[in-house]
Point group: C3
Chain length 221, copies 3
C-alpha cells in the first residue's frame, strides 16, 4: 500500500493474512483435516487472494510464496487454531457468553482484512499500470479469493457467493481507489479513508445482518 | 480471431461470453446463491476459459478482467437470469412447449460459444508463438474452462467430464486450426470453416444424443 | 533436474507423470466419468503440479501443455486405466492376493513420483532465481498439486489434506534441495540423494502407516 510508512503497511498485511488464516484453520478442523491440512488451508486462505492477484498481474513469483513474514503469519495462525481449538471449545461450553465475544472479535478482524486486501490489491494493480477495470476486479479478488479457495478445498460452495454483504464493499472500495487514482486524488490519507470506508460498510452489514438479495425463484436444492 | 473485420470478431466474443454466462447464472440460481453469487458465477463461466488461456500464455492481465465490454456482457447475462428467471418459470408451467424451444436455443448458442472460444483460444496461442501442442490444449481449455470452474464453485463434478460429446469437438477443432496454421493455410475463410465445423459437430452430437463412451467397469458411487 | 544426463531426467519425468496419471484415471472411474473425463483427470493429475509450478514461476506456457512427451504419458495412463480397469477387477475377484501386490506397486511408484516432482520443482525455481522460500513451496506444490486438483474436480476433499505423511516429505525434501543450493553443495549426486531421501521417508510412512497428527478437537462432520 502507498503509505509514508512502509513498515506499518507490512505490519497490516501480516495481520490481514493472520486473521484470514485463522478462519481457514477453523474450516479445516471442521472438515476433519489433519495438521498438514490445517496448515495448508490456513496458508491458502490467508495468502490465496494475494497469489491470485499476483498471477493475474503477472507478478511472479507471488509474494504469498516468497515473503517469509506473510507465509509465517499464515502458518502460525493455522498452528494456533490446531493447538488451542480444543481448549477454546471447552471454555465455550462453560462460558457461552465468551463465545459471542470471540466470534464478534473475529468478524471485526475479518472485516479489517477484507478492507486492507481490497485496497492493497487494487493499489498493486495500479502500480503495475493495469487497466482500470482490471485494477477494480483484482482488488475485489484479492479480498475474497483466499476464502473462496478455502471453501472449494473443504468441499463447500463458497460462503461469499451465498451469504451476507461481504464482497460488495470489497469491490466498491476497490472501485473507489481506482476512481481516486484517475482523479489524481490518491494519497496516503484518501487511501486510508478507503480502507476505513470498506471496513465500516462491512461492519454495518454485520451489525444489521444485511444480505445481498436472493431470487425468490431460487429452487430448493 | 484473425478476421478482416475486427469489430465482427469483438461482437462474436461478446456473444460467446454472454451465452456461457447465462448457463453460469442458471447454475448459480439452482445452487441457491444470492445476487452476488449469480453475477460471479455468470462472470466466471463466461470469462473463466479466457482467463485460464491468458494465464497459461502469460498474457497478463487477462482480457477477462480488463476488457469492459466482455465483463459487462457476462454481468448483464447474470443480471438477466436473476431478474427474469422467476417469470420464465411461470411461463414454463403454463406453456411447456416453449421450454423446449428455449432450451434448444440455449444449446445452439452454447455450441456457438464453444466453437468461437476453441478457435479464438488456439489463434491467440498461435499469435503468441506457443508450441503447437500448447496451442491445441489452450484452444480446448478456453472453450471448456469456464464451465468447469462454474461446476467446481457450485460443488458439482464438472459436467463436461461426465456427459455428451462436448469437449471433443472443441479440442479437435483447435487441433485443426493449429494444423492449418502449420500448413500455411490459415486465413479468415478457413478460420470460419473451423468455427462452423466445431459448431456443427456439436449440434449433431446434441441432435443424436451422442456421448463419449463410459467404462462398463465404472462402479456405482 | 540438474543431472549430467538430460535424457535420464526426461525419462524420469515421463515416468512420474505416468504414475500420477494412473491415480487420476482410477479416481475418474470411481467418480463414473466418461472416457474424456478419465483422460482429463489423468492429464491434470500427472501434469497439474508442474502447471501450477510454471504459473507460479511465470514460465509460460507451462511444459504440462507444451511438451508432447509429458502430455502423451499422462493421456496414455488414462487410456490404459479406462481400457483395462474392468479386466483388472475381474482378476482381483479371482486372485485377491494379486491386488495387494498391485496396490503396493502403485504406492511405490507414487512415492517415486512424489520424490522426483518435489526435487525437480524446487530445482526449476532455483534456476529461475526465485527467493528461497518460493523455491521450497514450489517444490512441494509441484509434488502434491496434481493430486489436489484431481480431488477437487472429483468433488472430494483433497486426500493429501486428510491422510498419511505424504506432503511432509515433499516439502522437507524441497527445503533440503534449497538448503544445499545455498551452501553450494548442490550437484547431481546430492540431488539424487534428496530424491532418494524423500522416496524412502515416504515409503517408511507407508510401511508403518504413519499419519500427520489430527486434532482431538476435530468434530464429527
Amino acid at each position: 500500500m502507498v503509505t509514508s510508512d512502509a513498515s506499518v503497511q507490512v505490519a497490516l498485511d501480516i495481520i490481514g493474512v493472520f486473521v484470514f488464516a485463522l478462519s481457514g484453520g477453523l474450516v479445516a478442523l471442521r472438515a476433519r483435516l489433519d495438521l498438514f491440512g490445517v496448515l495448508v488451508l490456513a496458508w491458502v486462505t490467508g495468502l490465496g487472494g494475494g497469489i491470485i492477484r499476483d498471477l493475474l498481474l503477472g507478478a511472479t513469483p507471488p509474494v504469498g510464496i516468497s515473503d517469509w513474514r506473510l507465509v509465517l503469519s499464515g502458518l502460525l495462525a493455522g498452528l494456533l487454531v490446531f493447538t488451542f481449538h480444543g481448549r477454546l471449545r471447552a471454555v465455550a461450553r462453560r462460558r457461552p457468553r465468551r463465545v459471542g465475544l470471540v466470534s464478534r472479535l473475529v468478524k471485526i478482524l475479518d472485516a479489517g482484512g477484507l478492507a486492507l486486501f481490497a485496497v492493497s490489491g487494487s493499489l498493486k494493480a495500479i502500480q503495475l499500470d493495469s487497466p482500470w477495470l482490471a485494477a477494480v476486479i483484482v482488488g475485489g479478488v484479492t479480498a475474497i479469493g483466499g476464502g473462496m479457495i478455502r471453501d472449494v478445498l473443504a468441499r463447500q460452495v463458497p460462503e461469499v457467493l451465498q451469504r451476507e454483504l461481504y464482497a460488495v464493499p470489497a469491490f466498491a472500495g476497490a472501485a473507489l481507489v481506482v476512481g481516486l487514482d484517475r482523479l489524481g486524488w490518491l494519497n496516503p490519507v484518501t487511501t486510508w479513508l478507503c480502507v476505513a470506508l470498506i471496513f465500516m460498510t462491512r461492519m454495518v452489514a454485520v451489525a444489521l445482518d444485511l444480505n445481498v438479495p436472493r431470487s425468490r425463484a431460487a429452487e430448493p436444492p
